[in-house]
């Protein structure tokens, strides 16, 4: 079996790489695929705590690379999702503890055991990022509709192409449809026009992401969560399905609907 190695990266920090990696891992596992999620952010380990697996770490990625344990010993199985396993980052080392060739080998080893290997990249464009894409067949860019995040995404897209990987696909995260409607936030189309890449998914801003992460749970299991549905849709697209993009303009209550109607009747605008 040769699994598919996908790196999730962004350039800018705080746009939702780790949340995206965790939720896509859980979503793909819930579709009965064997999935490994790898925290490549050495020194700033976080994927474990986002997934609620922080108390079960024995070995980490650097232990595997340096031969202190076998790969299987370091993989933490998620009891809630039998198909899902996490390889945590080392917390006491830095990004230079691993070389790109070692990371590429690790990805090949994982791809023999798992159908999907999702690598959570650190922010930035230095060694940690280069390690994170070293074994990737595909890169997903996470960004927010903000100038700093989009600018960094553009830089990263250029670097991924320079590394002779396929042009990354885009996940636009934390979109606030109410602000887009009022033209206070760039729309999906605006960002796509600027970055000129293929859209893989749009994740609406959703408080449930914070509340579920607080508990180490996934927003996918939160009933009625729009972010959860968005992640499930992205996971289906990763599997090659064609899934229509979610209607973002679900107005927020009566006032929201009224405001939409009022603004729409004046400008003919839609979010």
């Amino acid at each position: 079996m040769a699994g598919h190695v996908i790196t999730i990266t962004s350039g800018k920090g705080g746009v939702g790489k780790t949340t995206t990696t965790a939720n896509l891992g859980i979503a793909l596992a819930s579709y009965n695929h064997k999935v490994a999620v790898v925290d490549a952010d050495i020194g700033l380990r976080n994927l474990d705590v986002v997934m609620g697996l922080e108390n079960r770490i024995v070995y980490d990625l650097v232990d595997v690379v340096e031969g202190r344990c076998r790969l299987r010993q370091a993989m933490i199985k998620d009891k809630r999702f039998p198909e899902l396993a996490l390889l945590p980052a080392a917390q006491t080392r830095d990004k230079n503890a691993v070389k790109p060739q070692e990371m590429a080998q690790l990805c090949r080893d994982l791809a023999r055991e798992f159908e999907y290997v999702l690598i959570d990249s650190p922010a930035g464009i230095e060694q940690g990022f280069k390690n994170a894409i070293a074994g990737a067949e595909e890169v997903l860019i996470v960004t927010n509709p903000e100038v700093s995040a989009v600018r960094d995404a553009d830089r990263i897209i250029g670097m991924v192409e320079a590394a002779e990987l396929p042009t990354p696909r885009l996940i636009l995260n934390r979109v606030r449809s109410d602000m887009v409607r009022r033209k206070e936030m760039m729309s999906v189309d605006d960002v796509l026009e600027i970055l000129a890449v293929e859209l893989l998914g749009v994740v609406p801003e959703d408080n449930a992401v914070v509340t579920t992460t607080n508990r180490g749970e996934s927003v996918i299991q939160e009933k009625g969560s729009r972010a959860g549905i968005a992640y499930l849709n992205i996971a289906r697209r990763i599997q090659g399905e064609t899934v229509p993009f979610m209607e973002l303009d679900a107005s927020d209550g009566f006032i929201g609907k009224l405001a939409t109607w009022w603004k729409g009747s004046r400008t003919g605008a839609k979010a």
């Binding site: 553009d154 897209i157 206070e184 936030m185 600027i194």
Partner: protein, 128 residues
């Protein structure tokens, strides 16, 4: 009261379109790692070369850098003032300032033939 002004009448540029315009501008320089002054110089020199042969609208020129097919593309969009090339016969070439004088001359046959902006370089591509 602020919202009343917003709702009734004000037509200020939205902050999202300001964001988009600023990004498009800053990405030109990010993508080819050229300082704005150098890009301006390129713009000037392209105009100088073109205006030897074509009557171009110097104020209407737009230069942009887009990413497509795995590389950066420099696209210059230069409107042509008239839909015909300059007369490059010896007589015309002898004129000291061919471009402005020709531009001021009435050109009846060109009136209905506005060819619009002519683009040099590949069109912007979107990959989705």
């Amino acid at each position: 009261m602020g919202f009343l002004i917003t709702w009734f009448g004000r037509r200020e540029k939205s902050s999202s379109s300001v964001a988009k315009d600023r990004l498009l501008e800053v990405l030109i320089h990010d993508r080819i790692k050229l300082p704005p002054a150098t890009l301006d110089q390129i713009r000037q020199e392209i105009l100088e070369v073109l205006s030897k042969y074509i009557d171009v609208d110097k104020n209407g020129m737009e230069v942009s850098i887009t990413r497509a097919d795995g590389g950066a593309h420099l696209t210059a969009n230069i409107p042509i003032r008239r839909g015909e090339a300059l007369d490059l016969s010896d007589d015309a070439a002898a004129e000291e300032h061919p471009t402005p004088s020709r531009a001021n001359r009435p050109a009846p046959q060109a009136a209905g033939r506005n060819s619009g902006p002519q683009s040099f370089g590949p069109p912007r591509k979107r990959r989705h």
